[in-house]
């Protein structure tokens, strides 16, 4: 509550400064700093172990940083909130491995994700409001899952699960979307369609995409941040960072 009245410390939507995390002596993040403007879409790339997933964990409250600041909308200190609170603020996350509720139908998956009161009382006594039903219809169309709405999510194909999960993110209607390797295991056609979907989403959301697939990142055509050994190595357009000697060294070896 009091967060709302606090003056904004920064105009950035997401602001990380000097964030460090270590696991039993292993430093997963070392002084990572990153700022994301409202409405911006950002691609994060980096070799394995660069700290991409740990960064997502810190932003979504799964991991507490040992030091550093993490602010959302310039006034919410994310290091002091848990996953549910951060999600309620408007941070949505899509996992690397598609995680949908396999024993629920596609429709129910979206219903659970849809922006609506999350209290026990509300879900126990309230049915699906008309607004929610409308949202769900819209998202089913966007993600091309209308025909599958009555099927159990567990019965969907891999690509459909990825899309359902993106659909769930949309239903959540977050201010910031964190998307972890959205095209892993997709066919080329699916990859292209996903890129298009993400660009569409980026029109009215801020998005952070973590990805290995360079072709996909090029297709997104957005600012790129390169992580290496837990901190930022380079930042800029894909062409700029690919010309950076340190990046080449990290990616291609000396």
């Amino acid at each position: 509550m009091s967060d709302e009245t606090k003056p904004e410390l920064t105009s950035s939507l997401l602001y990380l400064d000097g964030v460090s995390v270590s696991f039993d002596g292993y430093k997963a993040l070392r002084g990572l700093s990153l700022a994301l403007e409202p409405g911006e879409m950002r691609a994060i790339i980096g070799p394995n172990g660069a700290g991409k997933t740990t960064m997502m964990d810190v932003i979504t409250g799964k991991t507490r940083p040992d030091e550093g600041e993490v602010y959302f909308e310039g006034r919410h200190d994310l290091t002091r909130l848990d996953e549910a609170e951060i999600a309620e603020l408007g941070v949505g996350r899509k996992f690397q491995k598609p995680t949908v509720f396999e024993n629920h139908t596609v429709n129910d998956n979206l219903l659970l994700a849809a922006k609506a009161p999350r209290s026990v009382f509300a879900t126990l006594f309230g049915g699906a409001a008309a607004v929610e039903r409308e949202t769900i219809e819209r998202i089913l169309t966007t993600t091309r899952l209308t025909d599958q709405r009555g099927r159990l999510a567990g019965a969907l194909s891999h690509g459909q699960k990825q899309w359902l999960e993106i659909g769930m993110l949309l239903a959540q209607d977050p201010k910031l979307l964190l998307v972890d390797e959205p095209v892993a295991g997709m066919t080329d056609a699916e990859t292209a369609a996903t890129a298009e979907l993400l660009r569409e989403i980026a029109r009215n959301h801020s998005v952070v995409v973590v990805e290995h697939d360079m072709a996909f990142v090029r297709e997104l055509g957005v600012k790129v941040t390169v992580l290496h050994e837990g901190s930022v190595l380079a930042e800029g357009s894909l062409d700029q960072v690919s010309a950076d000697e340190r990046v080449i060294e990290v990616y291609l070896g000396r």
Partner: protein, 380 residues
């Protein structure tokens, strides 16, 4: 209020049977002549009444285990606490008719040379107060316990073990004389309930009918919960807890609510059980009882509610039969049941029914919960 839940065919059949039994039993036990083939002898009434209570306990357990993935080994404690609350009312009803003829103190207190009624016993002369405690005590324990456990994200086998330890600690406490609940012997020698003789055929028949109705009501409440959006969220928590958290649901509150509802239900089952069996003692707390109740649910089919009740009746019928005919083999049979059901019948008896007519599948396929070793994946 919550609307009546939509019922499937199985649910309708279940309600017809339980409510029908509740209506029919008094007639068969009291009105039909004793030599008739349809007459229900008193011992059968008592036995079936016991089964009904077990079935309520099973439904309660299915609610948390089948739908929310919480394998509680503490439900025998909630059951026993409800039973003790009822037992305390029944003890105070004995009044001056006890061996020591003390109008206020139950016999065991006179025997221990106590002069005053302990505070915990105050108010239990009132049936209304006792009924409130039947629900409040297990509910509060479940709330306090769940509040700590769920907030600290104790899950899986860790949670099972902690609930088991809680039950064990309570059992030890109730065994002590100075704990004030009759120690080793527990509470017994009940005389009457609401002025009716506990032993009489009419009271027994009434208690059976009440238990059957309570079972129907438990089913309805549970069903309403699991088909609501809340219920969907709970199933989602069972299958992918952290994903639900990232959607912004406060998982601990969701678990806490269903855990408390389930505990209250178990308490009511215990309260109905005690006047029918005529005794409550600390052995009811035994963690083994909790695990046995879990296997009723597993036998019937977890996550189906009806299956849980069915399993409770089936296993207990088998137990009555076995312990009567060849008692030494009962533990082999029960032990074998644990192994065989988990290995070969993951969906229970209801699952067998569904094999024949493929309905919209609700029972959970046992989703591989990642083992601890897996969860530590990526640990460095």
């Amino acid at each position: 209020m919550m609307p009546l839940p939509r019922l499937d065919r199985l649910g309708v059949a279940f309600l017809i049977i339980t409510i029908g039994a509740a209506a029919l039993a008094p007639i068969l036990a009291l009105v039909v002549p004793h030599d008739s083939a349809f007459a229900m002898p008193p011992y059968v009434v008592a036995l079936l009444g016991k089964y009904m209570c077990y079935a309520i306990l099973a439904v309660a357990l299915d609610l948390v285990w089948g739908y929310c993935g919480i394998l509680s080994l503490g439900h025998s404690a909630f059951f026993a606490l409800g039973g003790y609350a009822m037992g305390m009312y029944l003890m105070r009803q004995i009044g001056a008719r006890g061996v020591y003829a003390n109008p206020v103190l139950p016999d065991f207190m006179v025997f221990l040379n106590w002069k005053e009624l302990p505070v915990a016993w105050w108010g239990f002369h009132s049936f209304a107060y006792a009924s409130l405690m039947v629900m409040l005590v297990p509910g509060l324990l479940a709330f306090a316990f769940g509040w700590f456990a769920f907030r600290s994200r104790v899950t899986g086998v860790y949670l099972s073990i902690i609930t088991q330890a809680m039950t064990y600690a309570l059992k030890l406490a109730f065994f002590r004389n100075d704990f004030g609940f009759g120690g080793n012997n527990g509470l017994t020698d009940f005389k009457d309930i609401l002025g009716f003789n506990v032993q009489s055929d009419a009271t027994r028949a009434a208690l059976f009918s009440l238990s059957a109705l309570a079972l129907a009501l438990s089913y309805l409440i549970s069903r309403a919960i699991v088909v609501s959006k809340y219920g969907k969220a709970v199933i989602a928590i069972r299958d992918a807890e952290s994903r639900v958290r990232f959607l912004g649901y406060r998982v601990e509150n969701y678990k806490l609510f269903i855990f408390v509802v389930s505990a209250v239900m178990a308490g009511v089952a215990g309260a109905l059980y005690v006047p029918q069996v005529g005794i409550i003692n600390p052995s009811e707390f035994d963690p083994g009882n909790s695990i046995e109740a879990v296997i009723w649910v597993a036998v019937g089919g977890r996550g189906t509610l009806v299956g849980a009740a069915l399993g409770a009746v089936a296993v207990n019928f088998a137990k009555t039969y076995f312990t009567g005919v060849f008692p030494e083999y009962w533990l082999y049979a029960l032990g074998g049941l644990f192994v065989l059901v988990t290995l070969f019948l993951p969906k229970g008896l209801i699952g067998l029914l569904n094999l024949r007519r493929p309905a919209r599948p609700t029972p959970p396929t046992p989703t591989p919960t990642p083992s601890l070793a897996q969860q530590e994946e990526g640990a460095r």
